[in-house]
Amino acid sequence: MQRIREIAHQVFDSDIWYSFTSSKVTMLAAVVTIMFIVSAVLAPLIAPQNPFNPGDLNLMDAFTPPVWYHAGMVHYVLGTDDQGRDIFSTILFGSRISLLVGVGAMLMAMVIGVALGLLSGYAGGALDNFIMRVADVTLSFPALLVAMLIDGVVRGIFPNVTQDQSAIYVLIFSIGVSSWPPFARTVRGSTMVERNKEYVQAARIIGRSPAAIMGQHVLPNVMGPVLVIGTIGLAISILTEASLSFLGVGMPPTTPSLGTLIRIGNDFLFSGEWWIVVFPGAALAILILAVNLLGDWLRDALNPKLR
């Protein structure tokens, strides 16, 4: 209990917390992000309707406009789509998927990138060169492109597997695999700096394994920048997934992400049912904006030069 209180003191007393609370914008961003995460996790519980259970739907209610129109209805706050799905509910479930893919892809990229970075920085030489070259090439191709290619290839290899169910894994994999270079670069840089320090050399002489050295000494130093890259990368991942879904090569309509919802809603833009596309789009934009703000703040807060 005492220990927890100590840690709490350290956190709330630190410069980082100070810079956090002094920026209203950042606090707002954090609140918004947390709200999204919470509502996404609790979606099945708090959504007024489960839009993906056909039994819940009432076709008669299709194309209901938002509640402030006189044709609107109270329990369809943001209106309904062509199948009578409540837009607010679809946004909740869609956010869930968007966040799931985004976080999943980021975690994957983090694991791959940190591991490769440690390896590259510690081993040096030809291995380091090779890994960095691959990173360079990966970096020069936008994640979107790589993800699409991987998706197309998977489609070609497994034409018979129902894509709907595997879509989420393919997405996480393809986005994750194209996002690892920034992590690797940063970790490699720090590893190389630490590797040359005396205490590491001493540890090697004593006979500690490289893995232990890297895990115990390098990793803690690197966590800060990794976190920054992870947050900004999360925004990019969500964006990439949304773009892929919008293009029709991401999440299918049966388990739509916000991007898929926008794609579906786009068809109704010209006939005047603008709410089907605008609200999911706004939700997506707000989510990405909030994560970006957090990432920006994190980067400035952890930047020793600006302290």
């Binding site: 191709f141 489609r155 070609g156 029709g248 991007g259």
Partner: protein, 327 residues
């Protein structure tokens, strides 16, 4: 300098070969090329015969060499879905994409660099804060959503601009351009803006952060200590040093634009290569996909080379043949 160019050329060839290998692997091993081309009832003997004729039983190295040879000559195979040679399709659609991309890139640079300079030199003015807010929004709003909103406002609600397609185009030999017709120009506005916005944001942020970095250097301090005018410092010393990294990143971004054109083309139904690629992915049309891959890689490599040469021209440190004399 020659040495550097040669080294870069060699590296580029290696990259292209690697990409080619991946494209070849896709071509050859993803799905069965024969099944794609013939009906389901075709007997096995006929398939085997076709396999033999098409050289699919030759050693992999031979096949790869043949693939490289074909690619270099512009023979990219035949689209599974459309049934026409990929090279034809590309030539048809390339001008649309290139016009759009170049216009978007121009927009991003022409607007982004001055905005970045301004926010770097006067970080506390309210205009800077406005610009920074725009940049944040530009980075966060998905490109396609911006496009949709623009279509909604300017196309559907106001009816000022066309909502899809290229408008009327003029054929100039192989090239088709929309720049010479009124409807062509009007059709270009929204897509170019949408595509360029993201790049503009990145450019502005980059220029801004470079300027902020430069202003903290010792030589700027020394320039101040010598009492030089703000103009000499900002636009002489600071700007010159900012250009170097900006050139590199801008060059790389150009490649990004060509790739991101995919989304914009989809939103605006722009008949370019990006749209072709999307449809190819949806139908696992391997020839188009792998050709697109090779083409994009080629663009990237060429852009990188140009950037390297520009770097060389701008930074005298790289040009130094002579070593420092005296002490």
């Amino acid at each position: 300098m020659l040495v550097m160019i040669i080294r870069r050329l060699v590296q580029s060839i290696v990259v292209m070969l690697t990409v080619g290998l991946i494209a070849f692997a896709m071509f050859r091993y993803v799905g069965d090329p024969i099944s794609q081309m013939v009906g389901q009832d075709t007997p096995i003997q006929v398939r085997e015969q076709m396999r033999q004729e098409l050289g699919l039983n030759d050693p992999v190295v031979v096949q790869f060499a043949r693939f490289v040879g074909n690619t270099v000559r512009g023979n990219f195979g035949i689209s599974f879905r459309i049934g026409r040679p990929v090279s034809e399709l590309i030539i048809e659609r390339l001008p649309a994409t290139l016009e759009l991309s170049l216009l978007a890139a121009l927009f991003a640079l022409v607007a982004g660099i001055p905005m970045g300079i301004y926010t770097g030199l006067r970080p506390d003015s309210w205009l800077s804060k406005v610009f920074l807010t725009i940049s944040l929004v530009g980075v966060s709003l998905p490109t396609f959503f911006i496009g949709i909103l623009l279509i909604l406002v300017f196309g559907v609600l106001l009816g000022w601009l066309p909502t899809f397609g290229r408008g009327d185009v003029v054929h100039l030999g192989v090239w088709t351009t929309g720049l010479l017709t009124a409807s062509g120009l009007k059709s270009l506005i929204m897509p170019a803006f949408t595509l360029g916005l993201f790049q503009l944001t990145l450019t502005m942020r980059l220029v801004r952060s470079e300027i902020l970095e430069v202003m903290r250097t010792d030589f700027i301090k020394f320039a101040r200590a010598r009492g030089l005018t703000p103009r000499a410092i900002n636009f002489g010393h600071a700007l010159k040093n900012t250009l170097v990294p900006v050139i590199t990143i801008t060059g790389l971004q150009l490649g990004g634009i060509i790739a991101f054109a995919i989304i914009t083309e989809t939103v605006f139904q722009w008949p370019g290569m990006g749209l072709l690629f999307v449809q190819a992915v949806q139908f696992a049309d391997i020839p188009i996909m792998s050709t697109y891959l090779v083409l994009i890689a080629f663009f990237f490599v060429v852009i990188n080379l140009i950037v390297d040469v520009l770097y060389f021209v701008v930074d005298p440190r790289l040009r130094a043949e002579s070593s420092p004399h005296g002490h």
